[in-house]
């Protein structure tokens, strides 16, 4: 019997019920973003359950310590406001854990009762609960608006608001705001910029924080993360690149509007063309030449694609996840000659529909895609029931569909609860593209080997 045995191909319109969501809520994105600042302690202003859930999910995804505080609301705080809980929390956190920064984000609860973080932070400072040299930053992240991507975006902007200043002396650096991606991807961005000789300030940067080494000593604040001093100078940078429309637009626009740092928003550099656009933008913005080493890596990726075309062409793929990741993935899939048959994302946005239409316009298949309400894995599964695909791409929750329908799954996105690798090996850039290709091909070729009749089972494929 099937794991999702109650799912059938009979699609009934749903307007109220979400089943197996392809998204989660804002605060977890905010918590993750805050971890990308050095010596910063994320704090969840609400009931302790949210914080427990967000910590657990991030921990399961990264297999790393994820600590955060909570205001531990009870009925009283929910009626009278959470101010005193937050101030107590701030006092305790600075006393016991001594971070440099506390990054507070709200939850459904504190948002619904209308707690004002700006005012409470001021009160905490006035009451002397914020020691000399320590900083509070905050972001409003109501989970009934948007998704975890929205929360990430809000906190990134909150971080910038907390620190960025302008001295008027150009620092000659480039700001990079990565979207909700892996620490390994952030490291890859740094590597590519380094190869081009570009100095960058990257916020957030979770590399070294959520993929740290085992040393026999627990460090609540590991070495990684952008420092507040570094962030402070972002107003003097030459330009900003945001990677991921949903996750970075607000931050990029903020730097543009308030500090006159011109911004460019690109898709995440996943796959060939998206990486091309990223590298080209780096070149145009900084005037630095693209070194041969990067062109070499690009050529290797193109080489793999051309070598393995016959395994990919015409294969159908179903994807679920965040639009910032899905769009470049779909572009890659189309480039490979594959068909992005079904795509769902719980994160809404008109751009998604437009871009999907554009990307799939020449694809010889009636591709189905949906984002926003009821764009969930249940719908994706129903589509698959009606006309199956050859490959699934998305987070671990897709493994139930994968098993039921006997379709290989490439784990990508958030959360990945049952495999290792995403923390350490990027999918960004050309070399990340090679890794993606390797995984896609392995899935498809393993499958071909498994299914081949005796006569067609071949040593060399």
């Amino acid at each position: 019997m099937a794991l999702l045995r109650h799912t059938t191909g009979e699609i009934k319109e749903r307007k109220a019920l979400t089943v197996n969501p392809a998204k989660t809520c804002q605060p977890i994105g905010a918590m993750y973003a805050a971890l990308g600042v050095h010596n910063c302690f994320p704090h969840s202003h609400g009931s302790q359950g949210c914080c427990a859930y967000h910590r657990s999910t991030l921990t399961r995804h990264y297999k790393e310590p994820i600590v955060a505080g909570t205001s531990s609301f009870t009925e009283g705080s929910s009626v009278f406001g959470g101010q005193s809980n937050l101030i107590t929390a701030i006092d305790n956190i600075f006393t016991l854990y001594d971070p440099e920064i506390i990054a507070v984000h709200t939850t459904c609860l504190s948002e619904t009762i209308g707690d004002d973080l700006r005012q409470i932070s001021q009160k905490a400072k006035d009451d002397g609960k914020v020691p000399e040299g320590k900083v509070l930053i905050y972001a409003s992240t109501p989970s009934y608006v948007g998704t975890h991507i929205t929360g990430y975006s809000n906190m990134v902007k909150g971080i910038l608001k907390g620190f960025v200043a302008k001295t008027g002396t150009p620092n000659g650096k480039l700001n990079i705001i990565p979207g909700f991606c892996e620490p390994s991807d952030m490291a890859e961005l740094r590597r590519l910029c380094g190869m081009m000789g570009i100095e960058i300030i990257m916020v957030p940067d979770t590399n070294g924080v959520v993929n740290g080494p085992m040393t026999g000593k627990y460090e609540m604040f590991p070495k990684g993360g952008a420092t507040k001093e570094e962030i402070a100078t972002m107003g003097d940078s030459m330009a900003t690149i945001g990677l991921g429309r949903w996750a970075t637009t607000d931050a990029v626009n903020y730097l543009d509007a308030d500090f006159k740092v011109p911004g460019t928003i690109l898709g995440m550099p996943i796959g060939l063309q998206a990486t091309d656009r990223f590298i080209e933008t780096l070149h145009k913005l900084t005037g630095k030449a693209v070194p041969d080493a990067i062109t070499f890596e690009r050529g290797q990726l193109v080489d793999i694609i051309s070598d393995y075309d016959q395994y990919l062409y015409g294969k159908k793929v179903a994807l679920a996840g965040d639009p910032d990741q899905l769009l470049p993935l779909v572009e890659l899939i189309v480039t490979l000659g594959m068909i992005p048959a079904y795509v769902v994302s719980g994160t809404a946005g008109k751009y998604f529909e437009d871009r999907m239409a554009e990307l799939t316009k020449d694809v010889p298949y009636d591709c189905k895609y949906k984002c926003g309400p009821q764009a969930d894995m249940y719908l994706l599964h129903q589509w698959i029931k009606n006309d199956p695909v050859d490959l699934l791409i998305g987070n671990t929750y897709l493994k139930y569909i994968a098993r039921d329908e006997d379709i290989p799954l490439l784990r990508h996105g958030f959360p990945i609860l049952d495999r290792v690798g995403h923390q350490y090996f990027p999918t960004f850039g050309y070399s990340g593209g090679m890794r993606l290709l390797e995984k896609i091909l392995a899935a498809i070729m393993d499958r071909q080997d498994r299914d081949a009749p005796e006569t067609r089972f071949e040593l060399q494929m």
Partner: protein, 541 residues
């Protein structure tokens, strides 16, 4: 590693030294020494009180206890989270409740159902969306029952989820009920267990009078089938010829809950999450309850004997002895092999509401000592024993949780034993309605800590250096970064079952593997292990 003399009072002082005065005063009341051995007075511990904001608690919320723990593992109920998407998402398959869909094939556990409230609903109210969602769940899935869980914002906007449930029950003709389990409602998951149990009591238990066959009929209360524990217990009971009607709630069904009133005995595993259901079922149906523990081979044998003694039937007593005799050789062989490698090692356990007590049996079987233990969401009676129940103050937070008034059921009440019989059973060591709690069984040189904070955890490990630490996923990698194995006891790190006889052997093997793993001695690179000369010589080469 450890076994150096320790003074628990000193340790306690160190744990709270750095805290702001008010916090230190509060935390001090939640930290007490054990009272092991006879004669010692059981100290009072502060429990089930609010967490201090900002000290990094490992606790979850009322919703988590209600949906995630108690109702979640009932496989044929559509559990619908009414709220923004997060709560539903995080409680989706994250508790490892193993499930066998059985012959009827109903299993909704792999699904996450949510009304996914958005800003519009928060402003204008979510009741319409909720009834529409219930309708759509029915149309798509045709379940036997639907239960609704409210999350924080729902409570604040005041959606009347109970009236929506009533209306939909009438309309659809299936059981529909709601749980007001907003996360802020209690101080921990515990409030949520209570809320769920109340609703199961009100809406389901005892609603099907089709008789259940079987000579010795029992229910298990508080066994959630993490990692398949309930399957192993079911195997053993079946072997003994004992009929298990319902497990609250691991791999369980509405059907089994409906017939639970046919049991002649309730056996309580997790005292915390289900003791009041046992009480209510006694009042309503006349079913006595006893505390059992199927964690640990000897604990399992003891519990089986207690059940058999309760039924006062020689045939059952003999059968149980025979089963124990069949199962024990494998246990003894495993212990003989493994114990030399685990003997004398030490552990700490900070888990939910009963495991920190139950698992001490298993460590004991490995010759290991538990230095410190505590619960995330227990109440004083779980620590001090049920005799403190009358002394527990009802505060504002406990008043939030409905206390059901149950009465003898007009037709279904049937006392299973006379007071004299119960008295006689007591003499044979089978005391009904009783639980001694954890403190009395722990050594005087150990510490019992309620709702331990991250800060205290780190300090405690620094001072006492146990060989293994047991807790949950949030603590896991923090502890491991310190170079020490960490066993998850909420979720078992994919291991299990650990209950019963087969489970005990699994546990011995896993603990052996963990405390003797090579990797902990390799955390330093060769050039880091020794003093400065060595470092210099590496540079020189």
């Amino acid at each position: 590693m450890s076994s150096k003399p320790i003074n628990v009072e000193e340790i306690k002082k160190e744990l709270i030294a750095k805290m702001p005065t008010k916090v230190a005063r509060k935390r001090a009341k939640s930290i007490v020494p054990g009272a092991g051995g006879s004669g010692e007075a059981i100290p009072e511990i502060q429990a089930n009180v609010r967490t201090v904001p900002g000290i990094i608690t490992q606790r979850g919320c009322t919703y988590a206890g209600c949906k995630g723990v108690v109702l979640g593992p009932s496989r044929d109920i559509v559990n619908l989270t009414h709220g923004p998407i997060g709560c539903g998402f995080y409680s989706w398959l994250t508790r490892r409740n193993e499930t066998d869909a059985g012959p009827d094939g109903d299993n909704f556990i792999p699904y996450c159902f949510s009304t996914d409230l958005t800003e519009h609903d928060i402003v204008f109210g979510g009741m319409k969306k909720l009834s529409a969602a219930i309708q759509e769940a029915y149309d798509n899935f045709h379940p036997k029952a639907i239960s609704v869980f409210s999350t924080c914002p729902v409570g604040l906007i005041g959606d009347d989820i109970h009236s929506v449930a009533r209306q939909m029950q009438e309309k659809l003709g299936i059981t529909v009920f709601a749980n007001s389990c907003e996360g802020y409602r209690g101080v921990s998951q515990s409030a949520g267990h209570h809320i769920a149990n109340n609703q199961i009591m009100k809406h389901i238990i005892g609603t099907d009078d089709t008789p259940v066959e079987g000579k010795y009929k029992i229910n298990i209360l508080g066994e959630y089938n993490i990692g398949g524990d309930a399957f192993e217990i079911e195997r053993i009971l079946e072997k003994c010829g004992i009929t298990l009607i319902a497990t609250f709630s691991g791999n369980s069904t509405v059907e089994s809950f409906r017939k639970a009133h046919f049991a002649d005995l309730n056996t309580v595993m997790c005292h915390r999450s289900l003791n009041y259901v046992a009480e209510m079922m006694e009042t309503k149906f006349g079913i006595p309850w006893i505390k059992v523990n199927f964690i640990g081979a000897h604990a399992t044998a003891k519990s089986l004997r207690r059940i058999a003694t309760y039924f006062e039937d020689q045939e059952l007593l003999d059968r149980v002895e025979q089963v124990i005799a069949e199962e024990m050789p494998a246990i003894e062989a495993a212990i003989k092999d493994i114990r030399p490698r685990t003997e004398g090692k030490t552990a700490m356990m900070f888990v939910g509401g009963s495991r920190a007590h139950h698992y001490q049996e298993l460590f004991g079987e490995l010759g290991m000592k538990v230095l410190c233990a505590g619960y995330e969401f227990a109440h004083r009676d779980d620590y001090e024993g049920r005799h403190v129940l009358p002394k527990i103050k009802v505060d504002a937070d406990s008043r939030n949780i409905e206390e059901l008034e149950v009465e003898q059921d007009a037709t279904r009440y049937k006392p299973r034993k006379t007071p004299e019989q119960l008295e006689a059973l007591k003499a044979k060591g089978v005391e009904v309605k009783d639980y001694d709690g954890m403190i009395g069984q722990m050594d005087k040189n150990s510490l019992i800590i309620d709702d331990i904070s991250q800060y205290e955890t780190e300090k405690l490990i620094e001072i006492m250096k146990p060989d293994i630490f047991c807790a949950g996923i949030k603590e896991k990698y923090i502890i491991q970064k310190m170079g020490m194995p960490m066993k998850q006891l909420h979720n078992y790190d994919i291991g299990g079952p650990y209950a019963g006889f087969v489970g005990a052997i699994n546990w011995y093997r896993d603990i052996d593997r963990m405390v003797n793993s090579k990797i902990w001695s390799l955390t330093k690179a060769p050039w880091q292990s020794e003093g400065p000369e060595l470092e210099a010589s590496y540079v020189a080469e």
